[in-house]
């Protein structure tokens, strides 16, 4: 045979890098990403914690006040309102999940042109929230808006959704649900694609039909899609900012603020000069999110362990 002549002696002395190639390479590859991420994400999180302990207008000297900002938050009505609104967002935004599932079921057919339909239904997700906000703001206009016009058709008086402190938040959430539902729809469409057809057939032989099939067989199998939809919806709900800023600017009289908006207002807006206070709000928001992050990482950790 044709054997390549390999030296029978010990191999030539290899450089440090060569000897440690497998150990070192990942860190070389990770370095730029970690650097960027640390500088712009990780360190700022801790900085925010630290800033939240100061009274600082962003211009002059910062004054250390310990937990003063947090103490003030406890009595801040606007903060309370924001917190409640965040809760509303969290709860109502989840409606995107069943709504997305519903549309996905509706569209999960193979008729001519269905691909176009699917992509058009998905369309709202691609739009900027700024545009979505504008569009819905016009939709809600108290007199001229399409909503009022449609209500008038069925004999109901005009309604000022965004001007009504009780309705405004829900109005904005509805606007947010539009793209979010589209997102969940896509997740479910791919989820439905992955449902084992043999299981559906087995269930049909078992006599499961319609709702029963959906409930007992399909939805349990869509669990991964549901999980993802849940995660992105929660994140979306807690990050909601653009829509509020565009549609009501927090109003009327601050009733549609959420934490993320309130902190922007406190820290960076026209009259806001309270970096420390804003940071404290951000920290609270972060702590809320931490619950979900922890949950997410935990389930991912479980999967990693289970998967190997």
């Amino acid at each position: 045979m044709t054997t390549v002549a390999l030296p029978d002696t010990d191999p030539p002395k290899r450089g440090w890098y060569k000897r440690n190639e497998i150990a070192v390479t990942p860190w070389l590859f990770l370095a730029p990403a970690i650097l960027f991420f640390a500088v712009y994400v990780i360190i700022p999180i801790f900085q925010s914690f630290s800033i939240s302990l100061y009274d600082w207008d962003g211009l002059g000297q910062a004054e250390y006040i310990g937990l003063g900002n947090y103490a003030e938050l406890m009595n801040d009505r606007a903060f309370e309102v924001s917190l409640w609104n965040n809760l509303k967002w969290l709860v109502c935004y989840l409606l995107a999940i069943p709504a997305g599932l519903f549309i996905a079921l509706f569209l999960n057919q193979t008729v001519a042109g269905i691909r176009i339909y699917k992509s058009l239904f998905f369309f709202p997700f691609v739009l900027s929230q700024v545009v979505v906000g504008l569009v819905f703001a016009w939709f809600y206009l108290p007199n001229e808006g399409l909503l009022s016009n449609m209500l008038a058709m069925i004999g109901l008086g005009p309604v000022n959704v965004l001007g009504d402190p009780k309705l405004a938040t829900y109005g904005i959430i509805l606007a947010g649900l539009w793209p979010q539902t589209a997102y969940c729809m896509i997740l479910y469409l791919t989820g439905l694609n992955a449902v084992d057809p043999e299981q559906v057939e087995a269930a049909r032989l078992d006599g499961a039909k319609g709702w029963k099939m959906l409930w007992y067989v399909i939805i349990p199998q869509l669990k991964p899609a549901t999980f993802i939809a849940f995660v992105v919806t929660i994140i979306g709900a807690l990050r909601s900012f653009d829509l509020i800023s565009i549609m009501t600017n927090g109003g009327p009289f601050g009733q549609t603020r959420v934490l993320s908006f309130y902190m922007f207002e406190k820290a960076l807006s026209e009259y806001g000069f309270r970096m420390g206070y804003g940071a404290a709000i951000a920290v609270v928001l972060f702590l809320i999110m931490l619950v979900f992050i922890a949950y997410f990482l935990w389930s991912m950790y479980r999967e990693e362990k289970g998967g190997h």
Binding site: P26, F122, L297
Partner: protein, 282 residues
């Protein structure tokens, strides 16, 4: 397949379904259709209260001409491009490397580094606002496209790394082992073996990040000001401030601003959806 293929249903049910489809679509896209119609209406329609009727006249050229030649919109659009494209390249490059490191090597802190990226990706980004703004100011990058790009790259890297790492994990590992047995250096494995295999993921991510960044509003207003550096999402609001209540122009402007990601979506639909479902997080 669930629900049951409509082909197996009765003929009336099939017809009903096929007529429902366009109706549902129109209802679903009603707000958007309204904007599209707004954007070709004359100003007089709005002063006369004809908000939702047929356009009084067809003002496509006028309205869009106004947007393109008589406002800062083109500049904002250009800014958006100059912000979005480098961000996409940067984030994808960084995360491809990081994803490779995390997906291929089993060093001890692997999962913790990975979790750092994941967790960072999920933080409410408001918590970064004050420090990042200060950092950008300190770097002298406030109100520059570079400042915005650097931040976006960093923040998106979290998400992209999650995505890339999972993708690489799903690649058959023997491919890498085969290359190792053949004496291919690690970085060459990345370049010649892994990267070509990641093409679908790269495409999906690029499309996805493109839309995310194009549509970003929050950071645009935190880190930039004015038509020098602001992207179109922020531009549209000042455009609107300028044309308060001129719904036809605002609509035209909004549509122009929304167009690139929409085009991107339609051209790269397959990648886009793959991206969403693979990465599965925004």
């Amino acid at each position: 397949m669930f629900p049951r293929p409509i082909q197996q249903a009765s003929a009336p049910a099939q017809t009903a379904y096929k007529t429902m489809l366009p109706i549902a679509l129109i209802l679903w896209l009603l707000p958007l259709i309204a904007v599209a119609v707004f954007s070709i209406k004359p100003a007089s329609d709005f002063t006369q209260g004809n908000y939702w009727g047929m356009p009084g006249s067809f003002e496509f050229v006028n309205n869009y001409g106004q947007v393109f030649f008589n406002s800062d919109m083109p500049r904002y659009m250009l800014n958006s491009v100059l912000i979005t494209v480098p961000t996409v390249i940067g984030a994808v490059a960084l995360s491809a490397m990081a994803g490779f490191a995390l997906g291929v090597y089993n060093f001890r802190s692997n999962i913790w580094v990975f979790f750092m990226f994941v967790a960072g990706n999920f933080v409410p980004f408001q918590i970064l606002m004050v420090p990042v703004r200060d950092l950008t100011l300190d770097l002298g990058l406030y109100n520059t496209k570079t400042g915005l790009v650097l931040f976006h790259i960093a923040f998106q890297t979290g998400f992209c790394t999650l995505f890339m790492r999972n993708f690489i994990r799903a690649l058959p590992f023997p491919l890498i082992e085969a290359a190792r047995v053949e004496g291919v250096a690690e970085w060459r494995i990345f370049w010649f073996v892994v990267l070509p295999l990641m093409k679908p993921a790269l495409a999906a991510l690029a499309v996805l990040i493109f839309t995310f960044i194009w549509n970003d509003y929050f950071w645009a207003i935190v880190l930039t000001q004015g038509p020098d550096a602001q992207p179109v999402t922020a531009g549209i609001t000042s455009f609107n401030a300028q044309y308060r209540a001129a719904y036809h122009l605002m609509s035209a402007g909004s549509i122009v601003a929304a167009l690139p990601p929409v085009l991107m979506f339609f051209l790269m639909q397959k990648h886009f959806i793959a991206g969403l479902t693979l990465g599965a997080v925004k």
